[in-house]
Symmetry: D2
Subunit: 294 residues, 4 copies
Amino acid sequence: MTIELSMFKNIGIIAKQGDPRVIGCLQALVAYLHQRQLDIMVDATGAKLLSDQNVKIATNTEVLGGCDLVIVVGGDGTLLHAARLLAKYDVSLLGINLGKLGFLTDICPTEMEPHLNAILNGIFLEEERFLIHAEVYREDECLSYASALNDMVIHRWSISHLLTFKTTINGHFVNWQRSDGIVIATPTGSTAYALSAGGPIIHPSMNALVLVPICPHTLSSRPLVVDGDSCIEITIDTGQTGQAQLNGDGILSQHLIPGDRVVIEKRQYIRLIHPQGHDHYATLRAKLDWGKAL
Amino acid sequence: MTIELSMFKNIGIIAKQGDPRVIGCLQALVAYLHQRQLDIMVDATGAKLLSDQNVKIATNTEVLGGCDLVIVVGGDGTLLHAARLLAKYDVSLLGINLGKLGFLTDICPTEMEPHLNAILNGIFLEEERFLIHAEVYREDECLSYASALNDMVIHRWSISHLLTFKTTINGHFVNWQRSDGIVIATPTGSTAYALSAGGPIIHPSMNALVLVPICPHTLSSRPLVVDGDSCIEITIDTGQTGQAQLNGDGILSQHLIPGDRVVIEKRQYIRLIHPQGHDHYATLRAKLDWGKAL
Amino acid sequence: MTIELSMFKNIGIIAKQGDPRVIGCLQALVAYLHQRQLDIMVDATGAKLLSDQNVKIATNTEVLGGCDLVIVVGGDGTLLHAARLLAKYDVSLLGINLGKLGFLTDICPTEMEPHLNAILNGIFLEEERFLIHAEVYREDECLSYASALNDMVIHRWSISHLLTFKTTINGHFVNWQRSDGIVIATPTGSTAYALSAGGPIIHPSMNALVLVPICPHTLSSRPLVVDGDSCIEITIDTGQTGQAQLNGDGILSQHLIPGDRVVIEKRQYIRLIHPQGHDHYATLRAKLDWGKAL
Amino acid sequence: MTIELSMFKNIGIIAKQGDPRVIGCLQALVAYLHQRQLDIMVDATGAKLLSDQNVKIATNTEVLGGCDLVIVVGGDGTLLHAARLLAKYDVSLLGINLGKLGFLTDICPTEMEPHLNAILNGIFLEEERFLIHAEVYREDECLSYASALNDMVIHRWSISHLLTFKTTINGHFVNWQRSDGIVIATPTGSTAYALSAGGPIIHPSMNALVLVPICPHTLSSRPLVVDGDSCIEITIDTGQTGQAQLNGDGILSQHLIPGDRVVIEKRQYIRLIHPQGHDHYATLRAKLDWGKAL
């Protein structure tokens, strides 16, 4: 039997936490990669699930960052986590889902082997997806920062009042807004929370950001699509009562108080690997039930 | 000079808290009512602002509830507060705003005297507005309850996950929903937060409730208008992580945990007094800028 | 074998036109009703499809109107047609679909026999659904009128300009609007075109109408729910260029010119028969894919 | 008196048709340009209004296309017309409105002279706005074509049925859709009809197109933002009954029948001149009443 030479030599694996369905997929994946005689490096979550198998454990992020390809086993949330973790390294990401098609994890476990065969043999699609970075300033001091592949969300936290905030883009005043908050989403994130809040779908190849107001008081407030290289600044009104939160990809990054400024910009990329023939519109049709009624 | 006999003998006054603009309007109101030789009973907030004038202080809600007419000086929020306070008494409410037209407080300070003249002489419109009542059950024990003239809102509180909950109406299962939450609004509340969340405008004369999903994950989730006498029950998914809140008219009523049930029903009415010629559509046109573009 | 006495003695049948899938269902239906020894009266469309069978042909609407029960074989469109035809008679309607669940035609062909058994034996749900009636006035002369179970739609016909029109409700001016047009829908119609135009879902038991602007120029124009007994009047702006149409249930009723007035009011009812256990929310869940994502 | 040398030597003028308010503005404009001793060339509409003044008449489009600057006096519609007319020439456009701020005609008559002073002295902002071009194919023959600065709209024409059509982007199948039609808008057009149909606002500097479904039957159909260099193809379903229209900037371009294909692509640019300090967000705030409620 001839083993094809893979263009990816060192394979990292990141597994979804706390989901027992991962184990079977992970075992099959590791067995397959062993058979291909590739170096495998598994994150702590995955290693725990594979305790009895002969795998190396990635003791820190840097080790995974040194891999040629990192395979994510889980849902879109796990791939978002991997992307934030590895964005600063030169690594490609591939997502295997747990049976339910994801926007980012588009390989089903049942089709894993033929797809991996092709991909490891160099037949695949590769696309760049950019992340956004947020910095929170309080009186000119940077309090904290965060990265996100999908979105940064500024949301009121205590319910009793709408949030009042100012938006500027590249230093140009856009508006004062009273709402539940605002989503600043990448094209990748345009099919996530931004869509629920009323935003458009943005093709992932675009260099664009979308600002989507959440339940705005002014009914003419609408989603706004701007250049991906824009610098977006949200300032919480100093007269604001109640509190706000900044969340990156749905994870709490910072509690915000009146006067806080959040500065959001594109920073870093990941490379996403898809099987040959991958089609974003097919994923949209499947996930959004388009055409079902016809 | 002949003083007309007022059909309202005992006048209560409720003033907005913490807004210095109230004072001038309050003084003019009290001076006018004194001149009409009517009994005046002012709530604690108003009494403090009128310290030097000869007014009786309403030491408890019951005293205000015993008035024929309670005049609210402030914004819609103050009238909501007054309505919840007085719904169990047989009292009429009249709203005087602080310069900005409200949906409920529709008399401007500058037009106060002629309008009051007419109203006290028996020339006015009267309409009933119903309140809704919510009870929170945890394992069949009623934890707390609340009333609202506008809306009950169940909203996720921690940001990281959507809220998962079940809705039933009169015992009929409607759906499981993942969203930021849900608004259950009266017709009165249909022009408040429910409108920002995408709900329709419901004429205040209708016996209806509207359920408006907030940023629902399923894009075909839509506002649902049901009979005002419906019993609506929202149950937080037992698998839910993160927390939720129940708010009545924007005021925190109860923190909710997985398994909690919120039962919402119509209960109690207030009578709202308007000047003759009051027109709900005129208020909508003014507040929503309808027709501005033509 | 004992034949149960049916509470419906004379059964009318209305069949969808131009759909070959009707034949099989129609033949099975007629065979079943013959077996139950009931009088059957088939409309012209159905009779043509059943040429070889022993059925009486309903030569005019009055004959169908004299039946106790009219069974509609087709989709919701066929039932809308039957409802408009028979609203002035005292007749009950039952809808059998052609394999795809409808909001109105909720019996699947495969479940036809057991459902008919129960219904003919008197076990069923019955609900009233009201129709709306539109009259078009040109200089105080009534040009034409139409009925609809779902909706009246006033829509621009030539594309180049938005339509400008005035809305009044019970003589009260609502607004001037520039838009593609307006839908005035019954609760029955709230899940049809009105839903696509952004309207809410209204429970069919409600006595309500909803006015839904179609692509309005003013972004704060929103669906408006009013009492079912309201008289709604739409007047085309005399300065309007281009043309408009009035459509009842999607069927052209009248071309409209500047100055034309359309007066819309509730008129007439039909009785809709459902199998025991019918649940409007179950139909909503099935048709709108609610809960699919969970 | 020193006359500054203008960087624009030959000035064309295009006037709105059929609006008497144009005359005053036009006369003031011509007087001003005469005083600046510039060559003026007026289109037929403008020339008729200025019959008594000493102006040259542009007898054909080519003459206007040869100007350095064409000043449009009217509303956004007049500027759209001028843009389509002159896109193939190397000419700059400047818009003077008739008192109502436009997105494209952003100079008010009252501020005309100081703004023109600065602009003619070389102090101004210039931006490119791209047009889209549509070709209609029937059985592989190109029937007709059209250009638009705002949008191409495919809209059903007879009302009784939704339109069924297929969308592809760069040859990739997107979906089959049933709806009232679809808007394909440039960033310039994103604040026009596309906005009424539910589309996002796209910054005019972006190289993007947005596809906005009009009242789609499938509620998960949503606006889709794609690269400005995409080739969009809409094919009318061969089973479609009823008719459709293609409109460019709201002007009828072609009646469409089942099987027709409309191919839409970016083509040609215009240069839009704005006064120094022009701010797109200020225009949005003014036109959409943002911030009014605060």
